[in-house]
């Protein structure tokens, strides 16, 4: 045993800790967070899914086989067709043939409606990057290429089934992704602005201002959300256009979501205000603004990011619920909630379960991904606690 007493004995000079190979010594908080985050496999997968969902929203026109408005009265409530990669070939074996099954149509003359069954023997060849209905990408680029579709433009395919008016559920879902996911994002930005503003002044100044804001938050968070949302959304005049309704609904949804963000920000401000390193900055001569922007905000951003991520699913659920009830977004706007309106009663969902299944699945995947992502971010948000 040598007489080594502690690292400090040798520290004068040269230093001995954090030798070569210890890159953690010079890693910034974001790098440390990324390391921690990447250990959360589920969170990483969720991040990929969230990014994919937003890409779906952005490139909806290209990804959707049809326009969400294309109605085909002859194909109402057509069930989803199966996709196959192989088909029996002429020589009796199996050959690669990317196709969907066609329909057998029976007409019930009494009820005056047609019913459809998918027939695997009817082959509708499918292709990738097929030409189809023209659209304008980002409102700028004229195009008519769709990711997937029937190679013969005269054939129709309903991969996820069709609705009451013979519209393609898949196309409507893809377009609905744009609206629903963006409401989550825009709503969270509004919440964030409100939350940081109110939480910040509440936590930084304290006193009577804090008391008033706290009472306000208390009132809002103690009121049952859905009835309150319904009450506010019901006041949207029927005469308003889709864009106005969209922004009003977003605002309503975010109005009630900012409270938890404000609480978080306030709490952080309160605890950070008394941190020694903030006092140290004050004693370095730093002004209020410099303290907030250089010391306090960098210590909060990661936590706020996690909170914001965790707030998105509530917004998505809110939009979906309100639109489902008929007081949120309304047709012709397409959102997941609007799609679910078609699955409102037992009759609809027993005769066309795909109207419930697909939108519900998308909502759940989006909400789950945001939850896992937010959880991963929250765990990674403070890389210094261990």
């Amino acid at each position: 045993m040598s007489g080594v007493m502690s690292e400090e004995d040798l520290a004068l000079p040269p230093p001995i800790i954090a030798r070569a190979g210890n890159s953690a010594a010079t890693a910034s908080q974001w790098r440390l967070m990324a390391w921690r985050f990447s250990r959360h496999k589920l969170a990483v997968v969720s991040l990929v899914i969230v990014v994919l969902l937003y890409l779906t929203g952005i490139f909806a026109e290209f990804l959707a086989p049809y326009s969400p408005e294309t109605t085909r009265p002859q194909y109402t409530y057509a069930p989803p067709q199966g996709i196959n990669l192989f088909a029996p070939s002429a020589d009796g074996g199996w050959a690669f043939n990317f196709h969907a099954s066609g329909y057998d149509i029976t007409v019930d003359t009494e009820a005056m409606r047609r019913s459809f069954t998918a027939n695997p023997d009817k082959i509708i060849p499918l292709g990738l990057f097929v030409e189809g209905q023209p659209y304008r990408l980002f409102g700028l680029i004229d195009a008519n290429i769709h990711l997937i579709g029937a190679t013969d433009p005269k054939e129709v395919v309903y991969l996820f089934g069709s609705d009451r008016l013979g519209r393609d559920v898949l196309s409507r879902l893809i377009h609905g992704t744009r609206i629903s996911m963006s409401i989550g994002l825009v709503g969270v930005v509004i919440s964030l602005v409100l939350g940081v503003f109110f939480g910040g002044i509440s936590g930084y100044y304290g006193g009577w201002l804090d008391s008033v804001i706290q009472r306000l938050i208390e009132v809002i968070s103690a009121m049952p959300t859905i009835p309150l949302w319904m009450g506010l959304a019901a006041a949207i005049p029927l005469t308003w256009g889709p864009i106005e309704v969209y922004f009003t609904v977003t605002a309503i949804v975010s109005l009630l979501g900012w409270t938890s963000l404000a609480r978080e920000v306030r709490g952080r401000f309160f605890s950070l205000r008394n941190e020694d390193f903030v006092t140290a900055a004050r004693l370095d001569g730093a002004g209020e603004m410099r303290i907030i922007f250089r010391q306090m905000l960098p210590s909060m951003t990661s936590h706020i990011l996690a909170m914001v991520t965790l707030a998105v699913p509530a917004m998505i659920i809110a939009e979906t619920s309100l639109s489902f009830l008929g007081v949120g977004l309304k047709p012709p706007v397409v959102s997941w909630g609007v799609l679910l309106q078609d699955a409102q009663n037992l009759r609809a969902i027993t005769s066309a379960p795909w109207l419930l299944f697909w939108p519900a699945l998308f909502v759940m995947i989006a909400v789950l991904s945001f939850n896992f992502l937010g959880d991963g971010l929250r765990d990674a948000a403070d890389p210094y606690d261990s």
Partner: protein
């Protein structure tokens, strides 16, 4: 192994491993010792030495992923090391044959159960007493540990007790079933020195009366010297030196023990330094400085339930080049006083006047923001907690450079050069400046904090317990650094500490605070050897002295509220 009759617990080659993903860590490495009836073994070591894990292993209380991997712990015929961690056999021993007192009495007691319920539980469990008998016995026990009014105290909660009373309740709980072995894991570390002395007295007395074997875990050489019969020194999981206390203190053979003793004894006398040449004019004077807190203001801004006078009419003067110590126990107002000077806590009354040499005096209270900013570059602050006081999200370059940047001291390149110079001044390699604080040890971080304080060429430094979070060996290094810097840079210091040793080592003069007031001011050496105020006498004599041949604590002066004298002010 031939068992000697008075050996109660015999530990042989005890090894505890912590298995984690990154690999295995050996916390306790082949430790052997015996506990004898009526005798106390002290295990002493710095943080990370494995002393606490050793104590917990004796009761199979090491939490996973820690595990006893080899060795034996013999209690009579039973080998505790072989017992399953959650089995009935070990449970029958815990609290009955071996019991334990912990470091933090507040968090070691349940906050929602009464003190009585927690003591009675042990009696009901092991002695099968019924409720009434258990209650009677508990009252008796609380009386034995000198808790006043045990009949009432039994129904009180832990938060209604002071720290010392809580620890007494813990002791009562540990003694309930008359155990053969008492393990005390840093039992007084969280307490003030005067309370520490009384609790140690109590434990010692009870141990002697009952003839228990005791294991005392501590980092404090003074406590060891004053209370134990035998010592084992632990370092990195191993016992490096063991023997009777006198032999270890006066004939230590292992270099670690020698260094530890040297570092401890070094703080028992003043540092060698030239005396102040001329008593110059005061650079900083506090005049009747005070702070009153309003307690329990409701959300509606209702009337306060009461006021707390945290600092009460403190008048002190700091001469240029002088080091003034401020010493006191918890709640004495010393930390608040430090913050009042720079108005990080706004004083309610009184004045602070800063009189820089060759410039007009500045009344701190009247300063506007710009004036305060100028003051902050002349008077700088060193914080207690080297972890909390450095922003973990900034590099050392940014942290040390921040005051330079804010006060516009030169170009980016000049600031960089200054930062490297400062880091070298405090004994750190300038090449480390792009690292973040988490890459540094506690002592190194404190050096970074000192470099930041020195960045603006201050005249005065206020240091708030700058060494209390550090181990004893590192403590003296930081103090030596400060002494060197003081001489090189001609600094004046206000040095706040609860540790008399540190104050004596470092300070020229010292002010003793109690309950917001200064009770005594004077030359540091005089106050530490022959204080005149009864409180100071009690305080000084309660400090354990790290030499078993010269115990101090046992003959200590006691101080009670009735002997409150008039504070002597300079």
């Amino acid at each position: 192994m031939t068992a000697e009759p008075d050996i109660v617990l015999s530990v042989r080659d005890l090894t505890v491993d912590f298995t984690q993903r990154q690999g295995s860590f050996r916390a306790v490495d082949g430790v052997s010792f015996d506990l004898r009836a009526g005798r106390t073994l002290g295990i002493v070591g710095e943080s990370g030495s494995g002393k606490s894990v050793t104590a917990r292993a004796l009761m199979q209380l090491v939490d996973p992923p820690g595990r006893i991997t080899s060795g034996s712990i013999r209690l009579g015929e039973i080998d505790i090391a072989q017992l399953p961690r959650r089995g009935e056999a070990i449970r029958a021993i815990r609290g009955a044959d071996i019991s334990m007192i912990f470091q933090e009495p507040m968090s070691s007691l349940s906050p929602v159960h009464t003190i009585g319920a927690q003591v009675m539980e042990v009696l009901e469990l092991h002695l099968k007493l019924d409720r009434k008998a258990a209650r009677a016995r508990t009252i008796e026990l609380l009386g034995q540990v000198e808790i006043p009014n045990p009949e009432q105290a039994i129904d009180r909660y832990a938060y209604e007790f002071s720290g010392g009373m809580r620890q007494r309740a813990m002791i009562a709980m540990a003694l309930a079933c008359n155990p053969r072995v008492l393990i005390a894991d840093e039992p007084t570390t969280a307490l003030d020195v005067t309370t520490q002395a009384e609790v140690l007295d109590l434990i010692g007395r009870i141990q002697r009366e009952r003839g228990m074997a005791m294991l005392l875990i501590t980092h404090d050489m003074g406590v060891v010297a004053e209370t134990v019969d035998d010592v084992a020194v632990m370092y990195r999981g191993q016992v490096v030196e063991a023997g009777p206390v006198d032999q270890v203190f006066h004939g230590a053979t292992h270099p670690y023990t020698q260094r530890l003793l040297a570092a401890t004894l070094k703080l028992e006398q003043p540092a060698a330094r030239p005396a102040l040449s001329v008593v110059s004019s005061p650079i900083l004077s506090l005049r009747n400085l005070g702070k009153t807190y309003q307690l329990g203001i409701g959300a509606f801004g209702g009337k306060a339930k009461g006021t707390l006078r945290a600092v009460d009419a403190v008048s002190l003067e700091l001469a240029a080049g002088e080091t003034l110590g401020i010493v006191g126990e918890s709640g004495s107002g010393k930390t608040t006083l430090g913050r009042l000077i720079l108005r990080t806590v706004e004083p309610t009354d009184g004045e602070v006047v800063y009189s820089p040499p060759g410039a007009a005096p500045v009344v701190v209270r009247t300063l506007d923001k710009a004036g305060l900013r100028n003051l902050y570059s002349e008077i700088r602050f060193i914080f207690q907690d080297p972890f909390a006081s450095l922003n973990p999200r900034m590099t050392v370059r940014q942290i040390v450079g921040e005051p330079l940047l804010i006060n516009r001291r030169g170009s980016a390149a000049e600031i960089n050069a200054r930062v490297s110079q400062l880091l070298e001044l405090v004994g750190l390699d300038a090449e480390m400046m792009d690292r973040y604080p988490h890459a540094f040890s506690g002592g190194q971080r404190q050096r970074i904090g000192i470099a930041r304080a020195l960045a603006l060429d201050p005249k005065v430094l206020i240091a708030d317990e700058p060494t209390s979070a550090l181990d004893v060996s590192i403590r003296s290094q930081i103090l030596d650094l400060l002494i060197e810097l003081r001489q090189r840079l001609g600094l004046s210091f206000i040095f706040i500490s609860h540790d008399i040793g540190v104050i004596r080592y470092f300070c020229d003069r010292v002010a003793v605070m109690r309950r917001g007031r200064v009770v005594e001011v004077g030359d540091a050496q005089t106050i530490c050897t022959s204080p005149s105020h009864p409180y100071t006498q009690a305080l000084i004599s309660a400090v354990p002295y790290p030499d078993p041949r010269r115990p101090r604590m046992q003959q200590r002066a006691r101080y009670t509220e009735t002997s409150l004298g008039v504070a002597t002010l300079r």
